[in-house]
Every structure is written in C-alpha cells, then in structure tokens.
C-alpha cells in the first residue's frame, strides 16, 4: 500500500507520554505478576518513557537502538524470571522499540487519508486495539487449554517446570490415556456412531421440510415452521425432560435410536434455516423448465434443485453434526450409560475427577473442528470459483 500522507516527526510532548501509557499497561501485568500492581504501572511508564526519549533523542540510529532495547529487556526479563520471562522481555523490547519510532517518525499517519482529523486517527487505531482485545478475550480460554493438556501432572495447573519450559514438566500421558482408556474410547465410539446418524436424519428431514415450507401453497406455513424450529428456542433442559418422559413410555429411552432421534430433532432447525435461506435465491422457473422437459419431480430435485442448494445443505449438516457432537444435556436424559458420548464423559470427568485428559480431548476436538470448518470453507470457495461466482 502506498503512503497517502506525507509524514513528519512528532514533538516529544506527544510520543513520550503515549509510549509511557503503553509502558504503564505492560508494567501493570508484570507488576501484578510480581505482587505490586501500582509499582508496576509507575515503573513501566517511567522506564518506557525514558527508553523512548533516549532512543529518539540521544541514540537516534533506529536499527541499533531497537536491537539494543530488545536485548536489554530480554536480559532484564531473564534475570528476573528465567527463560520464559526473557522471551516476554524480548517481546516487550521489540514492541516498544518499534512503537517509539513509529510514533516519533509519524509513521502511523502515512497510510491514512490526509483529511482525517486527529480524533479520527485516534479512533482508527483504538478501533483496531478494541477488536484485537475482543479477539484475545474470545480465544484465550481455548488457547490456555492446549499447553495445559501436555501437563506432566494430573491437575489443571501450570507447574513451575512448565513455566521454565523444562521438558520434564510436559508429557503426552493424557493423550495416551485418551487413546488407551476404555471409558474414553467407548465414549468416542458412541459419539462417532451417533453424530453422523443424527446428521443424516437432520439433513434429510430438514431439507425436505425447508423445500416443502418454501412452497407458497402450503397451509399454516408459519405455524409449522415455528414448531419445527422450536427445539432451537425452547431451553434445552425442557426439551430434554420432555423427551425423557416421552421416550421412556415408548421404550426408546436408553437406546441408540432414542439418542439419534433426539439429536436429529435438535439438528433439524439448523438445516431448515440454512436451506430456507438458500432457497430464497432459488429460481422456481428452473424446476418448471425441468418438468417441461420431461423430468419427474424426484429427478428434478436431485439434478436441478439439490446441486443449487447444496451449500446450504452442507452448512446446515455441519451445524447439525456439531450440535450432536457437542450435546450433553439431552444425552444425559435420553441416553443411558451404554450411550455415553464424549461430552458426557467430559462432563462427569470434570465433576468427579479433574483430569487433564479432558483438556487433551478438548484440544483434539478443537483441532478437528478447525479442520472441518477449513475443509468446508475450501470446498465452498472451490465451488464458487468453478461456477465463476467469485474471482478468488
């Protein structure tokens, strides 16, 4: 991207306080970890303000100055808390070296339109910082789980060995436990049996329902739609209790069929919604054209309609699969111990025995979910590209 605005150096009274504010935030984390938040804030602000001033006004040479700060901070961190603190220190040193010159040289202004007021420039960067903070807030709980799953101990604890990056603090034993323990393997087998079956049922019924309900001549369309979507809106515990008593009477409680049907009922709304959405853009004259050329309704559906609504069907199916795969409340009611699924096993595991095996499973599931979503997204893009809908 080419620069939009000519840049000029900023006065000391601007960039030194800003760097100091950044230093105060960084110092707050370091200080809290070391026991004194206030001292951390003051120290961080003071050190970074001095560093910024020295770098820009005394040393002036950017490259050696920034490297110097990086090394200095890394050494200071290492002296305080060993290797991990050294790495954090190096990251801080790199950031503040860059930050000081970025502000001092006025580089932050280069790629913004020249007519922006200072307030708009400030908002431009605040907005990005806020978005970044939200992302961190959402993703940290998932990230934290991953290193903990390699814990050599049987607790959800970052041990001193782990924090020192000592290999003795890490182990694969929780993964080994997952792959060798019959409880976990049984639960995995159940999940793998139940989720695809429930997904297939949801996709078949949900797609049919969506197509039927998109016909204008169906009476009570809205009422039927509302009923079919209700499992998504009614609190899960209520559906679960209702299913429990109903299935008990008809002999489905505690059977695979019962759990599959219950999960299919939960998955159908997702399929209906996504397929209905794709049907909005579907041109009904295509089916009439097919009929005109002698195709019967079934052929028309599979050869004309289905390929066009397939993206909606697939994403609905994906939601249905994840609903079944992640579901714990309904299976606790409708299933019995013979149908124990992975979430059920994790749930009892968390309550009775806090074991990092749960974290190992969680890590594996996160990786599977990411892989699944990536594959679907890539397929979607490929089909769009093949149909010439997007240049990418």
């Amino acid at each position: 991207m080419a620069a939009l605005t000519p840049i000029s150096r900023t006065p000391v009274s601007f960039y030194v306080p800003v760097v100091a504010a950044g230093g105060a935030i960084a110092g707050m984390f370091v200080g809290t970890a070391q026991g004194s938040t206030l001292l951390g804030i003051l120290g961080g602000a003071l050190i970074m303000a001095t560093a910024a001033f020295l770098l820009t006004q005394v040393i002036k040479a950017e490259k050696p100055g920034r490297w110097g700060l990086l090394v200095l901070c890394a050494v200071a961190g290492f002296a305080v808390g060993g290797l991990p603190a050294g790495i954090i220190g190096a990251a801080f040193g790199w950031f503040f070296g860059w930050f000081s010159f970025w502000l001092y040289e006025g580089r932050y202004r280069a790629y913004l339109a020249p007519y922006l007021t200072p307030g708009q420039v400030l908002w431009h960067f605040s907005f990005r910082v806020i978005c970044g903070a939200i992302l961190v807030f959402l993703i940290t709980p998932i990230i934290v789980v991953m290193p903990l799953s390699f814990n050599a101990q049987d607790f959800f604890t970052f041990t001193p060995e782990m924090l020192r990056f000592d290999p003795a603090g890490y182990s694969l034993k929780h993964y080994e436990d997952f792959f060798t323990n019959s409880d976990w393997q049984g639960a995995l087998a159940n999940s793998v049996k139940i989720a695809p079956a429930a997904t297939l049922l949801s996709v078949s019924f949900g797609t049919l329902a969506a197509i039927g309900l998109s016909q204008p001549h169906v009476p009570f369309r809205r009422a039927i739609m509302a009923i079919l979507i209700s499992p998504m809106i009614v609190p899960l515990i209520i559906s679960a209790a209702g299913m429990y008593f109903f299935y008990s009477r008809i002999g489905l409680q505690g059977t695979y069929v019962g759990v599959v049907l219950a999960h299919a009922a939960l998955g159908i709304p997702f399929v209906i919604i996504t397929v209905t959405a794709t049907l909005v853009g579907f041109d009904n004259s295509l089916t009439r054209a097919a009929a005109n050329m002698g195709a019967n309704p079934v052929t028309t559906f599979f050869r004309v309609q289905m390929p066009l609504i397939l993206p909606g069907v697939i994403s609905g199916g994906l939601f249905a699969f994840i609903t079944s795969f992640d579901e714990v409340v309904v299976v606790l009611f409708v299933g019995s111990a013979g149908q124990k699924t992975l979430p059920w096993q994790m749930f009892t595991g968390l309550r009775e025995q806090i074991s990092p095996t749960i974290l190992a499973v969680a890590t594996i599931l996160v990786i599977i979910s990411i892989a699944l979503l990536t594959v679907v997204e890539m397929l979607r893009r490929r089909s769009e590209r093949l149909r010439g809908m997007s240049p990418g």
Binding site: F156, T157, D183, L201, A337, T348, E352
Partner: protein, 368 residues
C-alpha cells in the same frame, strides 16, 4: 446423483442398524451407578472385574451417583428404571428408602456372613443406618493444607480453618451447611457432645453462621469432590475440606506438597441400594452381585485402590497394601486408631430433620 443415493442408503442402513441394537436390557447386562473417577476405578478392580469373570455378566458403569435421588425419582415416574445397583451416600439412601424408591434388604438373608460365621447384621453393626442401605465404605470429610504455605507450624486442629491470623490465605469449604456448621460450633467453644443440641436452636444456628462469617471473605465454596485437590495443587488455597481419599491421592499418588488433618474428621458412610420395582430377573441378579461384592474379602480388596475404610468389622484385619504404590493402607484409613482419636459422626437423624431448614438459612447467608 450417485452421492445422494449413497447418502440416503446410508441413512436407511444406520436407522435399521440402530433399531436392531435397541435391545433394552438383555439378561446378561447390568448397570451399576457410582461416583466416577478413582472411586469407580477401585470398585471396578475389586468388585466388577472379578464378578464379570465369575458370572460372565456385562457390567455397564454409569457415573450418576451425584444426581441419583433426582434420577431415580424421574425413572420411577416414567415407569422405566434402568439402573440395577446404585452407590449412594447414607443420607441419600435414607431419603430413597423413605420414598419407597429403594428395595428393603434383609442383611442376614441377602448378605454374606463373615468368614468366622458372624452374621452380616452383626458384622456391619451400627453402620446399617437404613433398611435399604448396604454399607460399603466409611469415609471422612477432613482438611488438607499446603505444607509450603502454612509456615513453620503446620496446623493440627480443625480450628486452623478459622484462624486467619496464623494461616492467612483462602480456604475451600463445601457449599452446604453440613460439616461446616459443626466445625464452626466446635471452634466457637461448644463441646463436641453438645454440638447437635446447640444446632437445633435458632440461636445455635446463628452462632455457627456468625463464626463462619468471620472467614467468609476468605472462603472459596466447592461443590465437586475434585475441586479442593485442584485448588490445593494450584496453590490457590492454603487449606480446604474434602474427602480423605482425595487427599490420599493428592499426597501419596500425585506427590503434591500437601498435608492433612485427621482432627474432627466427620465420618460418613457410602454404600449400595437396589432400586425398587426391578423385574424379578434383574432383582435376582442385583442381589447376587450385592452378595458377592460386599463379602469380607471384597470389601477389604477395595482398600487396595483407595483409602476408604471397609464397612465390615471383619474386613479391617485384611486391609493390605496399595496395589501400585505398595504402601500399607491401614494407617491411611479414617478408621485407623491413630487417625480416629478425635472424630465426629455425621448425625443422620439430625440432618434428616433439619436439613431443609438449615439449608435455606445457609443459602440465604451465602447470598448476603
């Protein structure tokens, strides 16, 4: 389209396969409900595996003991009891028995006599606290502490819980009045014999809550047995109450810097019930399992895997060594004379009468 046809065919096959495997209860299966974790594992090793080997019955483990009362009520209402044998604490057994949800047991008819011929009723003695309850283990709720956070003088008395000057830091207590109220009164100068008399009165209950209020800001309330060990391992708390078997596991099996108190440990019982309303065939199997799993040798075997005391008097001399660590288990039993110098027996009758009332007060106090 070929793909779609395949999908449809697979759906049909999956549904059909599901129908075939929808067997309900075959004669060779039984569902045993317990607490999960190390406790279920000890039962698996000591009872389930030998029983399966002997009879060929397939045992399915359900880890739902924590909500056993609610689930049994629901099953009873739905007319579909799917559990064969259920592991519950004595207080739950009493409730289930009162509600007619558990089957009454005649110890001398349904349980094995001791090897020396003593009848089961005498062998279990006072521990048969309900007509439906088959005692299995004696466990205790006691206090563990971080050895590296208590300074030079490790606590020796339960009142260390309330001594935030000598032992600053957070404490973990169970989120219910039972045990906490008793300990609060003991440490507020009430004599052990009078605790339940005092607790019967409104003033006494208030006295206990007032004592707890002195440490309320320092308390983390737990509800699952695994919480306190986790908090101790984290160094999040300086001390906390939990079951003695959990502390044994933290100290001996996980080698954490944790010590434990036996002072004023509160004894409680855990055991089996058989749900009411089983078919004759399933009832016979459940009784056969119970007869096998509660004999003198099996109960002693369980203590190889977990540090809970067997409920039979005749099992005590047979308590051996830990199956993996090879250490003697007897000194880790709550019932060991060295540990049981100052104990407290959970008063079932008192809590049966006062539980709802005191629970409500306790929850209101927590919310203040």
């Amino acid at each position: 389209m070929k793909l779609t046809k395949t999908l449809l065919a697979t759906t049909a096959l999956t549904v059909a396969a599901g129908m075939v495997s929808a067997d309900g209860h075959m004669a060779s299966e039984m569902t045993i409900v317990s607490w999960g974790g190390a406790y279920s594992n000890s039962q698996q090793q000591a009872y389930h595996n030998p029983y399966m080997e002997k009879t060929g019955v397939n045992i399915i483990n359900d880890e739902s003991s924590a909500e056993a009362v609610a689930k049994l009520r629901a099953m009873n209402e739905a007319g579909n009891v799917t559990w064969d044998v259920v592991d519950v604490v004595a207080a739950d057994a009493i409730r289930l028995c009162d509600e007619g949800l558990a089957m009454e047991i005649d110890p001398d008819e349904h349980l094995a006599p001791a090897p020396d011929g003593t009848s089961a009723e005498d062998d279990f003695g006072d521990l048969i606290v309900s007509d439906c309850f088959i005692p299995q283990i004696v466990y205790s709720t006691t206090v563990g502490y971080r050895t590296d956070m208590v300074g030079d003088t490790a606590p020796t008395s339960i009142c260390a819980l309330f001594d935030t000057d000598a032992y600053p830091g957070k404490r973990a207590l169970e989120k219910r009045p039972i045990n906490n109220m008793e300990w609060a009164l003991l440490c507020d100068g009430v004599a052990k014999e009078e605790v339940y008399d005092v607790l019967e009165t409104d003033e006494g209950q208030q006295q206990a809550l007032d004592k707890l209020a002195t440490i309320k800001d320092d308390v983390i309330w737990w509800s699952a047995g695994a919480d306190t060990p986790q908090l101790l391992a984290d160094g999040e708390i300086v001390m906390g109450s939990t079951y003695n078997g959990r502390l044994f596991s933290v100290i001996e099996e996980q080698n954490q810097p944790v010590g434990m108190l036996w002072d004023a440990q509160v004894f409680d019982l855990d055991g089996w019930i058989i749900p009411a309303g089983l078919s004759d065939e399933r009832k016979a199997r459940a009784l056969d399992y119970i007869y096998f799993a509660t004999d003198t040798q099996r109960l002693a075997d369980q203590s190889k895997y977990i540090s809970y005391g067997p409920a039979r008097a005749s099992s005590a001399p047979l308590v051996g060594q830990h199956a993996e660590l090879g250490i003697d288990m007897a000194p880790h039993m709550p019932t060991d004379p060295n540990n049981a110098k100052n104990t407290f027996l959970y008063n079932y009758e008192f809590w049966a009468d006062y539980r709802d009332d005191i629970d409500a007060k306790f929850q209101a106090w927590l919310a203040q």
